[in-house]
Assembly symmetry: C2
Homo-oligomer: 235 residues x 2
DNA sequence: CGAGTATTTGAAGATCATCAACTGTCGTGG
DNA sequence: CCACGACAGTTGATGATCTTCAAATACTCG
């Protein structure tokens, strides 16, 4: 209760992700609302977890009672139709959350696109500190809201945009999360997910996606294109 | 502060919607979490408001600091693309919420499809009672979550379903909110929104919607179809 | 009843899907 | 180090679904 020792830490913190003090996504997360006392509590309570590529953090239909914050790596969120068709409803990048609420049946599956690291918070923890840190619940509400807004943008994309518009919107979306602005204002961004995942996110077939990418490249909107990265022209 | 008089009420409560005791959507709402003291507070604080057909409860881009609970009627939620295309992201029926969080710029517009009645709660109110009623914030989180799940279902619909599948899903959706199960298991449901709104929800053109409806009727999935209602065959 | 709008229906065209073949990339093992 | 196999991605040709443009019909409200 009283000690502030950091269980997983060596003295020199060889892994920068194992201490909250050095956490790269902390300002964006709930942790920003925690006082020093709660933060110490967090460092004792929570578990950091590695998830290897392809593994699920939670499965559609299964119970989940934890909140995960993605620290490193990326995930896809997907839902299945009865007949096996699948729709990707979103991607997670560092700083994003899953499991804002405990539930008996997750609405979607979350699978790692690459080897990743997450922080794991049992929801019990939030209930426990809720009275001391009222800001935490507000932050959960806020995060739920931004998820909802992202979903609405996705709805607009699927409902009203053409194939090429969808692809462009998607690339900008990824770039905003994990892209780097290069010299000349061009943006280079990794694409950790395979083409099929992008297609399933955009409501397009693989081939249509490929053609749209080719077309955007010919038009100059895409400067460079490879399997795992894109460079977008400065607008 | 101390009196429990209900401002808008006559003795015999001529309008059943003007007292929380008689509110038809109360069990589904936040109010279910309120203690008698808070409920009394609610009856003094909140305003019941009529919204005439076509009027907006909130506008995309404008500030909003209130939560509204729909008591009677229906709304459409919509977002605009820069070029004027519009996408309907959802409909509200009695018991549904808008404005789960205060914001400087609403993500969408909410317009009445018919003359409607809402309960209006300034978010200040929730902050004020948060410590007494911890359940209220949890309920807001939960509600945000179900909104998110609905949005995800919408995403699946738009991303993976054919025109006819979309129309069928939509009709079931409405039926679940405001439909009546008739004899024989058939479901009759009103359609308070015009065809164009349905099309804009489903990501289809007006004509395609109309044809899909006609086709579903021919197949027998729709038993009866008029401008403002449908009867769905029992499955 | 009549004007104006909402909805349906028809015919032609475009976008995206499907089926199929080809090319590139990565990792493994000889 | 190169060769091979497997998988990921691209490209081509054809076709279906949905859109577009156009006109007719049905409703609703004054």
């Amino acid at each position: 209760m009283s000690s502030l020792t950091l269980p997983e830490n060596d003295c020199v913190a060889p892994n920068p992700l194992s201490s909250c003090d050095l956490c790269s996504v902390r300002e964006n997360s709930i942790c920003a609302d925690l006082g020093p006392r709660e933060l110490a509590q967090v460092e004792k309570t929570m578990a950091r977890r590695s998830v290897v590529k392809g593994r699920a953090l939670m499965e559609e239909g299964e119970a989940n009672d934890s909140l995960y914050i993605l620290v490193q790596g990326s995930f896809r969120l997907l839902k299945h139709l009865e007949d096996g068709r699948r729709q990707i409803t979103g991607f997670l990048f560092p700083g994003d959350f899953v499991g804002v609420r405990p539930t008996d049946a997750s609405a979607y599956t979350a699978e790692a696109l690459e080897d990743s690291r997450v922080c794991h918070f049992p929801h019990k923890f939030f209930d426990a500190i809720a009275s001391d840190c009222p800001g935490v619940k507000d932050r959960l509400i806020a995060r739920g809201q931004t998820e909802y807004h992202k979903a609405q943008d996705h709805i607009v994309l699927l409902g009203k945009k053409t194939a090429e518009e969808r692809v462009e919107s998607f690339l900008l979306l990824v770039a905003r999360s994990i892209g780097d602005i290069g010299e000349s204002g061009a943006v280079k961004t990794p694409l950790p997910m395979p083409r099929q995942d992008i297609a399933d996110y955009l409501g397009l077939r693989l081939e249509t996606l490929s053609r749209s990418l080719a077309s955007l490249k010919k038009k100059g909107n895409i400067v460079e294109l490879s399997r795992h990265s894109v460079v977008l022209a400065a607008r």
